[in-house]
C-alpha cells in the first residue's frame, strides 16, 4: 500500500499545503454556489422518486379505470384530489405515471452513461497512451461515428433491432462512448509526458498500471463534468425516441410517450402532455445546472 502511494502523487495531494485536497477544494467551491446546491437537490429528489416509486405513487401507473378517464387536475372543476394531476384517456393516474416514468429516464440515462463512459475511458486511455495503430484505429472509428447525426444513428439501429429497453441503451451507447473517449484521449496525451508518469515508467510499472492507477485518477474531473452534461442529453434523446414510438413500449410509462399520447387531446385535455414534458424539462435543466456548476468548480480558469 505504501509502495503504491509512493508512485502516486496524484490530484488528491496537490493542495496539501493547506491540508486540503484539490478534490475537496473543488467540491467546496461547487457547494458554495447556492444554485448548484439547489439543483443538485432537485436531481437527487428525482433519483429518490425513481427508486422509491412504488412507495410514493398514489396509484398503480397501469391501472386503467374507464369511469375515471380524462379527469382534470385536482385544482380544476371536476378534478379529484386523489388524482392530483388528472387521468389519461384510459383513466390512469397521470401523477403516478410521471413518478414511474422517472425510472425509465433515469435508468436509461444512467445505464447509457455508465456503459459509454467505461468504454470511452478505456478506449481513450489506450489511444492516448499506447499511440500507434491503437490510436489510429480508435480515432478513425471515432471520426466515422461522429459522422452520423446522433438521433438518426439511434433511430436506424432501433429500426433494425426493434424497440425495447436493452436495444435503446445499446443504440445510444454505440455512439455515446465517442464523447468521453475524445476527452480522455486528449487529457491522456497531455498527461503522458508529465514527470510522475515517467517516474512510474522508471520504477518499472506496467502500461495498464500506469494508465489505470496513474493517469486515470488525474483526469477524472473532466470525465465527471462531461458525463453529467451528456446524461442530460441522453435523457432528452431517450424521451425523443419514446415520443416517436421507438422507446420503451406500452404500457410502461415513459415521459416521452406520455407527451406523445397526450397530443391527440391537446384541444381540451392540455395537462396530459404538459406535465410529463415539465418533468423532462425540470430534470434535464437540473442536471445541466449541476454540470455547469461542476465545470466552473473544476476548471482552474475560474479559480482565483
Amino acid at each position: 500500500m505504501s509502495a503504491q502511494n509512493a508512485v502516486q502523487p496524484s490530484l488528491f495531494n496537490i493542495g496539501s499545503a493547506t491540508g486540503e485536497t484539490l478534490l475537496m477544494r473543488n467540491l467546496k467551491l461547487f457547494a458554495s454556489s447556492k444554485l448548484s446546491v439547489f439543483f443538485s437537490a432537485i436531481t437527487l429528489a428525482f433519483i429518490i422518486m425513481a427508486i422509491a416509486a412504488p412507495l410514493i405513487a398514489p396509484h398503480d401507473p397501469n391501472e386503467a379505470d374507464l369511469f375515471l378517464r380524462l379527469l382534470p387536475p385536482a385544482w380544476m372543476e371536476g378534478g379529484e384530489f386523489s388524482y392530483f394531476l388528472g387521468t389519461d384517456a384510459l383513466g390512469r393516474d397521470v401523477l403516478s405515471r410521471i413518478i414511474y416514468g422517472s425510472r425509465v429516464s433515469i435508468f436509461i440515462g444512467a445505464a447509457v452513461i455508465l456503459v459509454a463512459t467505461t468504454i470511452g475511458v478505456l478506449a481513450g486511455l489506450a489511444a492516448g497512451f499506447l499511440r500507434g495503430w491503437v490510436d489510429i484505429g480508435i480515432s478513425r472509428l471515432v471520426d466515422i461515428l461522429l459522422g452520423f447525426p446522433y438521433l438518426i444513428f439511434a433511430i436506424a439501429l432501433i429500426a433494425m433491432t426493434g424497440p425495447g429497453l436493452q436495444n435503446i441503451i445499446l443504440a445510444l451507447a454505440y455512439k455515446e462512448w465517442v464523447i468521453p473517449c475524445r476527452v480522455v484521449r486528449g487529457e491522456t496525451l497531455a498527461t503522458a509526458n508529465l514527470e510522475y508518469v515517467e517516474a512510474a515508467h522508471a520504477l518499472g510499472a506496467g502500461k495498464w498500471y500506469i494508465m489505470l492507477r496513474e493517469i486515470l485518477p488525474n483526469i477524472l474531473s473532466p470525465v465527471m463534468v462531461v458525463s453529467t452534461v451528456r446524461m442530460a442529453h441522453v435523457i432528452i434523446l431517450e424521451a425523443s425516441l419514446s415520443f416517436l414510438g421507438l422507446g420503451v413500449q406500452p404500457p410502461t410509462a415513459s415521459w416521452g410517450s406520455m407527451v406523445a399520447d397526450g397530443r391527440s387531446y391537446m384541444l381540451d385535455e392540455w395537462w396530459l402532455s404538459t406535465f410529463p414534458g415539465l418533468a423532462i424539462l425540470l430534470l434535464v435543466l437540473s442536471i445541466n445546472v449541476v454540470s455547469q456548476g461542476l465545470r466552473d468548480a473544476f476548471d482552474p480558469k475560474f479559480h482565483d
Binding site: R140, L141, D143, I144, L145, L146, G147, F148, P149, Y150, L151, I152, F153, I155, A156, L157, I158, A159, M160, G162, A232, I236, A239, S240, F243, L244, G245, L246, G256, V259, A260, G262, R263, M266, L267, W270, S273, T274, P276, G277, I280, L281, V284, L285, N288, V289, Q292
Partner: protein, 335 residues
Amino acid sequence: MSLGKLIERLAQLIPVLLGVSVIVFVMMLATPGDPVDIMLGDQQVTAEIEQALRHDMGLDLPAHERFIKFVGNALTGNFGLSYYHRQPVMSVIASRLPATIELSLVALIFALVVSIPLGVLAAVKKNSILDRIATVSSLFGVSLPGFWFGILLIMFFAVNLHILPVSGRAGFGSEVEPITHLLLIDSLLRGRFDAFSDALSHIILPAITLGLPMASILMRVTRTSMLDVLDRDYITFAEAKGLSRTKILIKHALKNALIPTVTVAAIETGSLLGGNMVVETVFGWPGLGRLVVESIFVRNYPLIQAAVLFYAVTYVLLNFVADILYTVLNPRVKL
C-alpha cells in the same frame, strides 16, 4: 488557404465517408427478415421469379461484392425501390428534401438573428439583469425537449389564439408552381404574396422549435467570445483613441467575436438535421425527417438506409465547411 491544403483536407474525408458507408451497409446486412419477402409482402410468386428478383437486387452475391455494388449505386444515387412507395428511393427522398431544407434554413436564420444580438448585449452589459436573463434562457433552451415545446407552441398559438396553423407546410389553395421548391422563395418569385404569408405562418412555429437549442448555444458562444475580445488591447486602444462605443463594438469587436459563432453555427446546422425528425413529426411537416420516422413503422428499409447515408454525408460535409470557415475567418489558424 492554398488549394493544395484544401484538396488534402477533402481527401481526408474519404476514409470517413467510406467508414460511414460500411456501417450503413452492415446495418443493412444485420436487418432482420429477407428483403425479397418484405418487398413482395402478401404477393404469391413462383420460386423462379423470387430467384430472379434476388439476382436482380444482387442479394445472391457475397458480402464484399454487395458492398462494392452498394457504394457504386450510392455514388450514382441509385438506392433501389422504396418498398412502400413503389418508386425509386432517390426520387422519394428528393420529393421530401426541399421541405426539410427550407425548415432548416429558416431555423438557422432564426437562431442567428436571435442569438448574435443577445450574445453581444449580454457581453457588453456583463452581470446585468439582461445578462442573467440571457444566461438562464439559454439554459432553458438547451434543456427543453423539442417535441414538447412544439406541442406547447401549437396549444398556445394555434389552438388557443388561432393565429397560426396547427400543422402542415401550406394551406389549401396556396400552391405555387415550383421553381426552387422552397415555398417561401417560390411564392415571392411568382408574386403570390398570399401564398408567401401562408407559407410563413406555417413555418414559424416549427422553425422556432427547431432553432431554439441552436440559438441558445450560439448565444453563449457569442457572449463568451465577445467578452474575450472586449478584453483585448486593441479594444482598449480604440477606446483611448476616442472612437465611439458603437463603432468599437461593431467594427472592432464584433467582427472578431463572430468567428467562433460562425464556426459553431456550421457545426450546429448538422445537428438541425437530427432534430428534424422530431420537429417534423410534431408539426406534420412533409420533410425527410418525418419520412424516415414513417418508414420505420412500415419497415421500409431501403429508404431508411439511403436517408441515414444521406444525413451522414451531409453532416460530414457540414463539419468540413465549418473547418474551412474557421481557417478562412481566422488566418492565424493553419490547417
